[in-house]
Symmetry: C2
Subunit: 355 residues, 2 copies
């Protein structure tokens, strides 16, 4: 039987607060009764929801915090108001104190990243963290990083991201040597950004045994699931994510319009309704859930702010899987080995590449 | 009655060659009998297709070229083999010689851009060209540029793109003052790339009367059609385009799977088939057609390589509209005015921004 895992939860985060965070935890707990929880939030707000789930409450601690970070707070504001005392901060701090193995919040991304960096600090040898997302593909799921933490990453940071994404794929997908690709553009004339080409050279030279670096991949290949891990810097990664979300929404609107245009289409829709429901679930952006902050001394999971209990439960499930599979140790090991080697090999390669 | 417009066509370009390019021209000609054509290509290959369309042939010239640029040729290869003599080169050259008002090719993008730059040369005061695409949105169509010509554009180049995109929107959408937005990311902590912020400052300062600069927009807003023109540098623009294409394809596969899963869904599909056909047409990546090369002394249109005759006809229709609405003069005027002013105002602003 797997050993128990304690998860700290920012109960107030997200558009719906404890209504979703507590109910989501309850769903996750029913699947995995070895989970334990620490809920951080305003006691009077959390209490009624905890009382609805007595079994969950019996394996949980509820810790009162009188400050709640708002969804629209700027990171600097959130840090000023919420450091030491907010539910978001305390959930992260529980990981630092090793009272919890992983923190989950549906609160605002900028504030969560700022607090996580401040509280947990970057891993040794790491400049910048990354946000990794789980991306639904025709082949299952891929990991895409960075989704917006590090704008303008250089070649060395892209290599760090490749190793961290690879470690996450090993932890979540149980693949011993996941396929890793660098996102690049296909117009032949311009072979993409110099940083990306340089990162590709470094990944080939390093030849890390835990990842199978397959080269560049293009935007239209991400959805095919050609690789397990797609690596890009934060600006283009964030744009890629939002373009996919926006396109899915746009097609949903078209579909709704077309299916209500006349009686034949409406009847067809009624007959095929279960199929449409499954489709909607597949392309719902809320289900691209569980953005994972990597590169810090502790794992923090960002759930989508608009997630429902099912979505929040999925984030918790992923959080538990990453803990059980020793994600943080895997990352420390790979990044450590890289930067050990980097004192000789890749730094020389970088310098040569820059000439 | 509008005056006649002569369009030069690289008849050999694309996956299907004259079968599609000639048939597409014929469709466009039926709509607009004032169009005139110059077809460049291998005479024995073009001839049978031209013979099928006698009315079109009577207003067209067919010019034999014994070299055809292949879809997989590298730009350098294409230039070496195809300069002066290929159908692609000669179609562009017809614009330079003012024998045609605009060139259309479904040939390979890298080769076409390399030849267009070499033959037509950048506009005065322009460093780098851009590829502008027409993007289907819930509100109609928007223009997105750059889709991959200029990787890593700086703030001044982004401002050039904004003005060129604005001129194209005026020419194609008949809007006197189109809305222009800069693509940026929404994670508050990192307010995006410095170049993008700087371009935003410049656009506010310049306050060009022909565009309504509305600020930053995020990837998931592109499909809503919030702005007429979306400006970004070529790396993220290419990734945005390909992510949208890939997502549309992915959803089509899901839809097909779901609609064939059981008899109810299949029956629903049969009833709603016309609706599905319209949907498929709306989200077909081949219909994001007519990538336009801007920033050169002449307009060149890249049609999708896999386009059918309908798609190629759409590219020709856009080409004619841009000529009739004086796109090139509009661009020359706006870029000229900018760089006139730039000798005082925006260069100072750039320098200040860099400090």
């Amino acid at each position: 039987m797997p050993h128990s895992v304690t998860i700290s939860i920012d109960a107030m985060g997200g558009d719906h607060g404890p209504e979703v965070t507590v109910a989501g935890a309850d769903l996750a707990y029913r699947e995995s009764p070895d989970l334990r929880f620490q809920f951080f939030g305003e006691e009077p707000v959390m209490r009624p929801w905890l009382d609805r789930h007595p079994a969950l409450s019996s394996v949980s601690a509820a810790i009162h915090c009188d400050v709640t970070v708002q969804m629209h707070d700027k990171p600097s504001q959130a840090l000023r108001r919420g450091r030491w005392r907010s539910s978001m901060w305390r959930a992260i701090e529980a990981v630092k104190k090793e009272e919890a193995a992983v923190a989950v919040s549906a609160g605002n991304t900028g504030a969560l990243m700022a607090m996580a960096r401040f509280c947990l600090r970057p891993l040794a040898d790491m400049d910048r963290p990354a946000i990794a997302g789980l991306w639904p593909t025709l082949a299952g799921e891929s990991i895409v990083l960075d989704l917006g933490a590090t704008v303008g990453a250089d070649a060395r940071q892209l290599v760090d991201f490749a190793l961290m994404g690879g470690a996450m794929a090993r932890a979540l997908f149980q693949k011993p040597r996941p396929k890793v690709g660098l996102l690049n553009i296909g117009v032949e004339e311009v072979k993409g950004l110099e940083e990306v080409r340089e990162a590709g050279r470094l990944l080939r030279e390093i030849d890390n045994p835990h990842i199978d670096y397959v080269g560049f991949i293009e935007g239209n290949d991400v959805g095919k699931g050609l690789v397990d891990v797609v690596v890009t810097e934060g600006f283009s990664g964030n744009i890629a994510l939002k373009m996919a979300e926006g396109t899915a929404r746009q097609i949903s609107v078209y579909l709704r319009e077309e299916m209500s245009r006349n009686w034949r289409a409406r009847l067809g829709y009624l007959l095929a309704r279960p199929a449409f429901t499954r489709l909607r679930r597949k392309i719902d952006p809320n289900r691209i859930n569980g953005g994972v902050f990597l590169g810090l001394n502790g794992i923090v999971i960002k759930s989508h702010g608009g997630a429902d209990a099912l979505g929040f439960a999925a984030a918790i499930r992923n959080a538990a899987a990453m803990v059980r599979n020793g994600l943080l140790d895997k990352i420390r090991q790979d990044i450590g080995a890289l930067h050990q080697a980097g004192r000789t090999l890749p730094i020389a390669a970088t310098a040569a590449g820059a000439l």
